[in-house]
């Protein structure tokens, strides 16, 4: 019997016993699903911080325009929008008015909007001129040495992190300008999740 004939006869055997074959395969599937469900580890109460969806955000301390220190750890528990930008970046400049609008509109819902200037690759003069076009509650922070940008693995600007009230990153948007509708959808989800 040559290879083609052997293959054909095996296929015929399979088709003849298709129902049995299917039931065995599906039963094996059920066993596999149940077994893998039993293997899921218990929720880790202290996950390591990573700039990735589902993980706690890396902590940082940065200064505002007025020199005040902002510690991310103090803000966790509130819905947070964390945006990385530079004054030479056109999409960053284009979306900043939207971030300002959103920060004002959702201020009463405790939304915190942090706009981190990647000063290590920008100029303080250029960044300051741009910042002065906007007003609180939008909060600008200086990342002078780039440590925070490095911790958040910023590879493109702008990059926006959405952090829920449970202290986990819910989504990351790389690039921009970010659509206002997308911002609203994410923020509404953050605020809804933070409601009692």
């Amino acid at each position: 019997m040559n290879k083609a004939s052997y293959t054909l006869s095996m296929l015929k055997l399979l088709v003849k016993n298709w129902t049995m074959f299917s039931l065995i395969l599906l039963a094996a599937g059920v066993v596999w699903i149940a077994w893998t469900a039993s293997q899921i580890p218990a929720e880790q109460s202290k996950m390591k911080a990573y700039p990735h969806k589902g993980f706690p955000p890396p902590d940082f301390t940065l200064r505002t325009q007025t020199g005040d220190e902002i510690h991310l750890a103090d803000l966790l528990g509130k819905p947070i929008l964390l945006n990385f930008w530079a004054s030479w970046c056109p999409p960053c400049r284009a979306e900043m008015p939207i971030l300002e609008k959103i920060s004002e509109e959702y201020n009463s819902a405790n939304l915190v909007v942090l706009a981190v200037n990647t000063t290590y690759q920008d100029t303080t003069e250029g960044a300051t001129r741009f910042m002065n076009e906007f007003s609180p509650p939008l909060l600008f922070l200086w990342d002078m040495k780039g440590d925070v940008s490095h911790a958040y693995q910023i590879t493109a600007l702008p990059t926006t992190f959405f952090i829920g009230s449970e202290g986990l990153i819910t989504d990351v948007v790389i690039g921009g300008p970010i659509s206002e509708a997308l911002l609203r959808v994410h923020i509404e989800n953050l605020i809804e999740a933070s409601s009692p």
């Binding site: 088709v15 299917s22 059920v30 596999w32 699903i33 893998t36 997308l182």
Partner: protein, 249 residues
């Protein structure tokens, strides 16, 4: 992982590039096999343009309907190029409905259309897994194997690579089956073979994924969905295979 590729001042989305390449390669394969089904390459591109356009419009409309308050405040966002403003299920249903309408209008059997585009779907599936690898989504559970990848503070199963390699094997098998058996199989057989193998693959490999959506009792929702799809495809495929071998000695 490699979410972006730097090209001077430009940051290019790596997952996007990978998906585009997968689509291009898949369409090339489908175009190559189309004449054996009595379809011209132009017809393949016409149908694919219809599916893509209807899928994108459907995905956007569905997302808008689901999140209307956000769009009401900024109507310009309706036309935003941001791919995150798309609902995949809405796109899938829209594409399917349009395809059904196209099939009825042109008289082209749905099974023949599905079979024609099976290589495209298969190539896109491989590309999707590689795109996940590039973006870092769908990462694996911690592992202690020599090929584990360091990611997010742990050595992990390269879950996306497992799926991509299996997807590639499925693509090769599907293409070989098509070239060897196409004349003898009822329409829809190739597509159902692809769906069966892909569902089985998903059901198995999902166990190695760390961020799999979990339901009641720790059950992985993607595995349950894959099992349901596997059940349906096995049933439908069995009916077709029995037709092939019914009259054989």
């Amino acid at each position: 992982m490699l979410p972006t590729l730097q090209a001077g001042p430009l940051a290019i989305s790596t997952p996007g590039i990978v998906l585009l390449f997968g689509l291009y390669f898949g369409l090339l394969l489908s175009e190559r096999r189309a004449p054996s089904r009595g379809l011209s390459p132009n017809r393949v591109y016409q149908i694919s343009a219809i599916i893509l356009a209807s899928g994108l419009v459907g995905a956007r409309l569905s997302y808008i309907l689901l999140n209307w308050p956000a769009f009401r405040a900024d109507l310009v966002s309706i036309f935003s190029l941001n791919y995150k403003l798309l609902d995949p299920w809405g796109g899938f249903m829209a594409g399917l409905v349009i395809l059904l309408g196209y099939s009825r209008k042109t008289g082209l059997p749905l099974g023949k259309i599905f079979d024609t585009f099976t290589p495209t779907l298969s190539a896109l599936t491989v590309a999707a897994h590689l795109a996940h690898f590039a973006s870092g989504s769908g990462f694996g559970i911690p592992a202690n194997v020599p090929w584990a990848i360091e990611f997010l503070g742990a050595k992990r199963h390269p879950f996306q690579i497992y799926e991509a390699v299996t997807g590639l094997l499925i693509l090769i098998l599907v293409f070989r089956l098509d070239t060897q058996q196409q004349a003898k199989t009822p329409e829809g057989t190739l597509f159902l073979t692809f769906v069966t193998l892909s569902a089985a693959s998903q059901l198995f490999w999902e166990a190695f994924r760390a961020d799999s959506p979990i339901g009641y009792g720790g059950l992985r929702l993607t595995q349950i969905t894959a099992w349901i799809i596997l059940s349906l495809s096995l049933w439908l495929l069995g009916k077709r295979l029995k037709l092939i071998y019914k009259n054989q000695p």
